[in-house]
Symmetry: C2
Subunit: 123 residues, 2 copies
């Protein structure tokens, strides 16, 4: 997929949890994204890619940041990619990774609840 | 824990991934929350609780919304509670659940990236 072609999101992905209950289908789809984020190594890999100012990171740099083996890092990157959170392109010897902002943003909006619910506090 | 005592969050929890790379310690802590969200049943349970206008839901209503057994629902609710995403209180026969907005909000802020990174698109 080219870097310009961002995935089209189901509108239900971007509705906060506080607005309405999720359908079974939406829950299955969204849970895949959260499951991919539910590992400390994957979360650090994603943060290393997301915080890179130039927008992309060489796999060689990602491997250097951990004491894990290359195949283990590759496995975690594949899980993030299959969840639609990152994408990559091989250029010469190395593979370069970047985040898919629309997917991260959709998961963020789902969890975007007011810091304290007035109903709950006053009950 | 009473409903007024919201957990104090580590400031690093609320910094978007695009701002700086996560420390190993923060990643371990945050991954627990995402792992709890990485299951469709738990995500639907959380959305049923979060979308309740009164702020809390009786476990009896949650069980009725699924074709799963009571013990299975209880297991998933326990995972959400141990991740700090919900809390509960027994009153008489039933247990009542509500969300912990500060925890959900912290996870939301972590994933809050601009919908399209100008750097990435122009590269």
């Amino acid at each position: 997929m080219s870097r310009q072609e961002l995935p089209i999101l189901d509108a239900s992905c971007c509705t906060p949890l506080t607005s309405e209950a999720l359908t079974e289908e939406s829950a299955v789809d969204l849970a895949k994204g959260f499951k991919a984020l539910g590992d400390p190594v994957r979360l650090r890999l994603l943060s290393l890619i997301a915080s890179r100012k130039g927008g992309e990171v060489c796999v060689c740099e990602l491997t250097d940041a951990f004491t894990l083996t290359g195949p283990t890092i590759s496995h975690h990157l594949r899980v993030l990619r299959e969840a639609g959170l990152i994408d990559c392109q091989r250029r010469g010897t190395w593979v370069y990774y970047w985040i898919i902002p629309a997917k991260l943003s959709a998961l963020s909006q789902l969890l975007d609840v007011p810091a304290a619910s007035p109903d709950a506090v006053s009950a």
